[in-house]
């Protein structure tokens, strides 16, 4: 048995944090090896050590049977040894073409001039061989996220890498793109390459990995391979205790719907335009009643963002009305909406939800600073009491209220947003967009429980998510959004029934459901 990449007894400490505590990893040549663990478990550090971005304090790195001297080699050394990395955040220059991005730093010259033709031909051949379907001459910022990722993969292949490390490759992809990516990875392995993927999504691990290394708190705690790879076992190893992968909704959706109260959110014939003037939301009507969770499914870019912005007061609708608890808030200010009972978990916590440069306590009063001031001054004691209570309640780590939010893991950052919004004084409507995107499973479980608790507390919940499993687990009713319209609507029972997920998937692409019947 040969190993493409071996790490033995790797230690790495950042200040007081021990990111890796004697980790061993052996990746077989020609296999897909998943490294899983919650945020902060040390998996990214481990891979950065393998790629030479970070120098280990102790331990050995062996690549294709050859030991790397001095526990470190710069990325240039890693590339020379055939190791390439695709980062979670792409390293591409948007205004340049695919081929220009690929050769960056390795430019070929012919008679002193930059030669792009040769690499372009080589890229086309590689793309052809691995079904990557990317035009080398296309401008990167005109490509979809999935295509940009393929450019990153092509870049690594073109530089001659046989071991590919992918850091959270599916975080930004739609379900269809994930399937395509997995086909590509299988093709690469069939062609003799070795793939290491870092992830915390269990269903993906089960779907693709030949072998799994589970990390927790800087140590490898479990190693599974072949048929032994099962989601509950991995989850238990990751978190250190049994985890409910599908949060129980308590009672069946249909029964619950009868118990649901009056409409807390009423959207009528809503039209919302994108910045470029096209219709993002196109005549949408929907209602959410007290004690009901309505899920909104759809491929990204079908009006979800604009719908959320219109309800939250961040984008003025072109037509239609929005009411919260019977009060018309279509043209109301953001503050008036909060006063009417809105709680808003924005779809991108870094963009709208948090101020990364400020502390946890500062972020826990964001949008609620009036509530926590007496006259013109902030009430430090009340803010402190509020912060400590929420930090304990949602198990936010670190527990120091003065810690900067930018230094928190994705899960803990999201807990800050959820804690702040759900602790508003008189909540009626929870507007919740992508609540668990980029969040580890421990935090997902907790956030799901809080969303269900909000329903029990008779809040109306509008839940927008790209994760169908999340929608299925939580929603009493699911609306499928396609080109800004509702093209299908399913009860929880219909969604859970055989073929329910397929029906939603079809509707998301504009086929099936009520899609065909909706005229122009």
């Amino acid at each position: 048995m040969t190993y493409a990449l071996q790490l033995r007894g790797v230690h790495k400490r950042f200040g007081r944090v021990e990111a890796c505590r004697g980790v061993d990893l052996a990746v077989e040549t020609g296999s897909i090896h998943a490294v899983v663990g919650e945020n902060g478990a040390g998996k990214s550090t481990l891979m950065n050590i393998a790629y030479g971005l970070v120098r280990a304090d102790a331990g050995d790195i062996v690549i294709n049977g050859e030991a790397v001297e001095g526990r470190s080699h710069a990325p240039a050394g890693a590339i020379a040894r055939g190791v390439g990395m695709v980062h979670q955040h792409f390293m591409l220059v948007g205004s340049l073409s695919v081929v220009e991005n690929t050769v960056l730093g390795n430019e070929h010259r012919r008679r002193g001039l930059l030669d792009l033709d040769t690499p372009a031909r080589e890229l086309a051949a590689l793309a052809d061989r691995y079904n990557l379907d990317v035009d080398p001459r296309a401008r990167v910022d005109e490509l979809s996220v999935g295509q940009q990722q393929r450019v990153e993969i092509l870049k690594v292949l073109w530089r001659g890498s046989e071991v590919l490390i992918l850091d959270e490759p599916t975080a930004v992809l739609t379900p269809a793109e994930v399937r395509e990516l997995f086909d590509i990875l299988r093709g690469l392995v069939a062609g003799g390459a070795t793939v290491v993927i870092i992830t915390h999504k269990l269903d993906e691990v089960v779907a693709i990995a030949d072998r799994v290394t589970v990390m927790r708190r800087g140590e490898n705690v479990a190693e599974l391979s072949g048929d032994a790879i099962a989601a509950p076992d991995i989850a238990r190893a990751m978190v250190g205790r049994p985890v409910l992968l599908e949060t129980a909704r308590g009672d069946a959706g249909a029964d619950h719907r009868d118990k649901a109260g009056e409409a807390q959110l009423a959207v009528d014939d809503l039209v919302v335009l994108r910045d470029n003037g096209t219709r993002a939301v196109d005549g949408l009507s929907l209602q959410v009643r007290a004690g009901e969770i309505v899920g909104v499914a759809g491929v990204e870019g079908n009006g979800q963002t604009e719908l959320v912005e219109a309800i939250a007061g961040l984008r003025r609708p072109a037509a239609g009305t929005i009411r919260i608890a019977g009060r018309d808030i279509t043209a109301a200010s953001v503050r008036q909406r909060f006063d009417a009972g809105l709680c808003h978990v924005p779809e991108d916590r870094h963009h709208r939800g948090l101020v990364l440069e400020m502390a946890i306590d500062d972020n826990l009063i964001l949008g609620r600073q009036r509530e926590f001031s007496s006259g013109w001054t902030l009430d430090g004691d009340r803010i402190d009491e509020h912060s400590r209570r929420l930090i304990a309640d949602l198990d936010i780590r670190p527990t120091d209220p003065r810690a900067l939010v930018g230094g928190l893991s994705g899960g803990n950052q999201q807990k800050v947003v959820v804690a702040r919004e759900l602790s508003r004084p008189a909540p009626r409507l929870l507007l919740c967009a992508q609540p668990t995107r980029g969040v580890d499973i421990g935090a997902i479980e907790l956030i799901h429980q809080r969303i269900l608790a909000a329903r029990e507390a008779q809040l109306a919940v509008l839940l927008l998510s790209a994760e169908l499993t999340e929608l299925r687990a939580l929603s009493d009713r699911v609306v499928v959004l396609y080109r800004g319209r509702s093209v299908d609507e399913l009860s929880a029972a219909e969604f859970a029934a055989a073929g329910g997920t397929e029906r939603v998937g079809m509707a998301m692409t504009g086929a099936g459901g009520r899609g065909e019947r909706v005229g122009g």
Binding site: R16, F338, Q369
Partner: protein
């Protein structure tokens, strides 16, 4: 330091003597100390001014113009009050006038930014020229004493007392500056408005989602920034010249950017940085008998650059070491 020495040697002077003069003639005598304080005071105002805007995410390059507007306003009000006005009325009137004029000069680019998205760097720079020309025109047309470029003197009750200090020009405007520094600290550390401005400075999108008025924060912070710059008039007019003179103190507004940078936008740091710049400024004057004036300017710049670089280096080392 070494580079400075090379320059001094090139000018055929002893580095030791030049540096010694710089230190002994500033912090070594009462007069020197007073002059340092006098020169530091306006820098505290402009440094604070730049920092206020910066905390709200804005670059106020207009402290120069705002300070001219404030100085002119202070001089006009101070000169037109009846001679019998008591000090407790006259001083606040002049200070409020300085702040109001500076505040308006700051609010204008704030409104342009908030309403039309015009970049504040361009607005404030352009406004510097507009204010300078406007003040000169108004002065020549209406206010300047004939054949001069300064206004009539302000009444005695509007003058800020000097500290003495062997006849140096240090005056009570330093107290105003320190009060302003305290107020700025309080604004950002303790008040809701300061909190909202900081949020807007770091992440306007999150501020918007939280119901904070981004336009309000831009206009408000620029107005306060301008008002503090306007207080430079307290030192230059009320405390020192006792009239407004066109061109006096030019450059202090721009130096405010450097003061805020070295002081890391923190009020206490700004006071310390202003004292340093004041020391260099007066020390430079004292050594100009040995070396050429231009070389003194170069020397000052070299020292400032060395300080900035070393503080960046110290920070880097701190981050590397165990947290």
């Amino acid at each position: 330091m070494a580079l400075g020495s090379v320059l001094i040697i090139a000018a055929q002077q002893s580095p030791a003597r030049v540096y010694w003069t710089m230190i002994s003639r500033t912090w070594g005598s009462a007069y020197g100390l007073g002059e340092v304080l006098h020169r530091a005071t306006p820098l505290i105002f402009t440094g604070l001014s730049v920092a206020i805007a910066f905390r709200a995410g804005l670059f106020n390059i207009g402290a120069e113009g705002q300070m001219v507007a404030g100085s002119m306003a202070a001089a006009l009000v101070g000169g037109s009050l009846p001679g019998a006005t008591p000090m407790v009325v006259a001083l606040p009137c002049c200070l409020v006038a300085a702040m109001a004029a500076g505040g308006v000069a700051g609010a204008v680019p704030g409104v342009l930014k908030a309403r039309f998205g015009a970049h504040e760097v361009i607005n404030t720079i352009m406004l510097n020229f507009i204010i300078a020309s406007l003040v000169l025109w108004l002065g020549n047309r209406f206010f300047f004493a004939s054949e001069t470029t300064h206004t009539a003197p302000i009444i005695a009750a509007a003058q800020l007392p000097r500290f003495g200090l062997s006849g140096s020009n240090a005056n009570a405007s330093l107290v105003v500056a320190l009060l302003a520094a305290g107020a700025v600290w309080y604004l950002f550390a303790r008040t809701r408005t300061g909190y909202e401005w900081r949020v807007v400075g770091h992440n306007p999108a999150a501020a918007e989602a939280g119901g904070i008025s981004v336009a309000g924060a831009i206009i408000g912070s620029m107005a306060v920034s301008g008002a503090v710059a306007g207080l430079v008039g307290a030192n230059n007019v009320l405390g020192y010249k006792h009239y407004f003179e066109n061109g006096y103190g030019a450059g202090v507004g721009f130096m405010g950017t450097a003061v805020a940078l070295v002081g890391r936008n923190h009020p206490a740091g700004i006071v310390a940085a202003a004292l340093l710049f004041g020391t260099l400024s007066h020390g430079g004057l004292e050594v100009s008998r040995y070396v050429a004036k231009e070389l003194v300017d170069v020397l000052q710049a070299v020292i400032i650059l060395a300080l900035i670089a070393s503080s960046a280096e110290v920070r880097r080392l701190q981050q590397r070491g165990p947290a």
